[in-house]
Amino acid sequence: MFQKPGRNRHSLWFVAFRQIARNKLALTSLVVIVIYVIIGLGVQLGFVAKDYNTKHKAPMELLSGDVKMMFLEYAHPSVQFWFGTDIFGRDVFQKTLYGVRTALMIGVITSLIAIPIGLVLGAVAGYFGGIVDELVVWFYSALASIPPLLLILTLSLIFGRGLKGVYLAIGLTSWVTLCRLVRGEVIKLKTVEYVQAAKAVGAGHARIIFLHIIPNVFHLVIINFTLRFCYAIKAEVILSYLGIGVELGQPSWGNMIQSARQELQRGVWWQFGAATLAMFFIVLAFNLFGDALRDALDPRLKSRQ
């Protein structure tokens, strides 16, 4: 644990940044994440996947005789449609790109719900201790005892089908891990000199918690934010598969995988493949980058190496 003299002038963030900059796997993951974020922003602003909902018509020569092929259904991957088309003749490639936006939105909005809950409850419990601490620990232990999938499924059913239900169901159930970590860290932090000093000069509880303690557990938030994307994206797929996730009109990887179950038997593999691959790369990138962040930012792990 003893640091060499002179190393102290580098902050935790600087050392972490340097460590990640040297890690090729982490950098590659970051590049993948940035590409996905750009795609997601593009979809949001209307540059990318503009006609994801266009139902392409079948060419005239195919329409001879029976008129069942109104739409270009299940076209194979080609130059025009990179990942083929779905049952309504929609471009699977564009649907996949649109799914990037859906997935990122789920990650961000569930974080906006879960992280404040976990952070504030954890900090308050760790800081005040006593009965407050016991109540918070009791509450999250009870919540964590409930089988997670059943809890999410019940909640999203109560909130109703649609993105709002997905956000709330995942957000309201996934703050326990962060809360636990923050609480543990705050218990250690509150005896540290600078907190004692702030107390001695008369700083109030709220000021100590929000200005002195929370900034010093913020690395836990960053790690949690990265890793929870994996969880949120995977949860969306399960919810959508069970028919209580994203609405059918809105492309999401979960909806695409749901339609794939019947399609595979007809030899239509592209929708399944596109959604699975798109999901695989982003979840893998978030997993690897989150791990690298944790190695870089968590001092306890550092001393172990």
Partner: protein, 312 residues
């Protein structure tokens, strides 16, 4: 020792009460149960019909009475009858537990054994190419959706190559035929995260003082790993296993649903589809109860092994 056990037991009971409160909020305050009533009556029901159904299921009573009723159900395990099948919920759960367990227990056992062996090997050759490739593979395996494993596994192995029946279940020894494929899929889904976790446990031990001492006394690497490191790493691994056992009885919701195995997981999914809230409530409660029980058991086992814990 007895004092410690009693204290843990009392704490677990407060947790069970907490679970009951959360269930109450979900089904009685946020409107989970009323949704079921609306579903049963359909769109064109008159107010009288709705009221009579509400009275039948006790939603016309005050919140306090409803909470007491929920406590009574949870304590006596009398959850009434299912809204769709009209069967007694307790007997439905008893029937569902066997198929769930016969799928999940062997699958989980294989996963744990495999993960222990491979993670020991990783710790033995840590930071070698082999170790790194395995860690990346484990993370890659974790990054694939469970739906992809299930759909692809069922399509390729059962539908296309006809190695296994596509879905279904028969009680007794015949069950084996139907269980191999879902069990295989479970192992491939679960092995990544277990392997990574166990590897961290092993590496935590590798840097301990007793390992250095053993080495200084001339202990060989393989003996060191299998006798010293494995024994100590088994403590967190066993905790992990004990905590997972309740989930084995609960079964895997998605696997059972896909392969039509009539276990508790499939039952929950069907109850969700029909919004059969008494079944959902009972299964959720039972799952939580087993989780809390598993934790209590592992705490007590821990304190038997390690006397320092009792003093905390």
């Amino acid at each position: 020792m007895l004092r410690y056990i009693i204290r843990r037991l009392l704490y677990s009971i407060t947790l069970v009460v907490g679970v009951m409160m959360i269930l109450f909020i979900l089904y009685h305050v946020m409107g989970g149960s009323e949704m079921a009533i609306l579903r049963m009556t359909g769109k064109h029901a008159t107010q009288e019909q709705i009221d009579s159904l509400k009275a039948q299921y006790g939603f016309d009573k005050s919140r306090g009475r409803q909470l007491l009723e929920l406590f009574r159900q949870c304590i006596t395990f009398d959850f009434g009858r299912s809204l769709t099948t009209r069967q007694k919920i307790t007997s439905m759960i008893a029937q569902g537990a066997i198929p769930s367990l016969s799928l999940m227990a062997p699958a989980f056992f294989i996963t744990v054994i495999l993960a222990i062996i491979v993670s020991l090997f990783c710790a033995y050759k840590r930071n070698s190419l082999f170790d790194r490739i395995l860690v990346v593979l484990a993370v890659a395996g974790m990054s694939v959706s469970i739906m992809a494993y299930i759909i692809l596994g069922q399509y390729l192995l059962a539908y296309k190559w006809k190695l296994f029946p596509i879905s279904g279940y028969e009680p007794g020894l015949q069950a084996l035929r139907y269980i191999i494929l879902p069990a295989l899929i479970y192992v491939s889904v679960a092995i990544g995260s277990e392997l990574r976790l166990y590897r961290t446990f092993m590496l935590n031990e590798v840097n301990q003082d007793y390992v250095r001492t053993a080495r200084a006394k001339g202990c060989g690497t393989s003996r060191l790993l299998f006798k010293h490191v494995l024994k100590n790493a088994m403590i967190p691994i066993i905790t992990q296993v004990v905590i997972t056992i309740p989930f084995l009885i609960m079964g895997s919701l998605l696997l059972e649903n896909f392969f039509s195995i009539p276990g508790l997981g499939n039952m929950s999914i069907e109850a969700l589809g029909n919004w059969d809230y008494p079944v959902l409530k009972a299964v959720t409660y039972l799952g939580s109860l087993m989780f809390i029980g598993g934790n209590l058991l592992s705490d007590i086992l821990y304190s038997l092994v390690d006397p320092r814990i009792r003093l905390e």
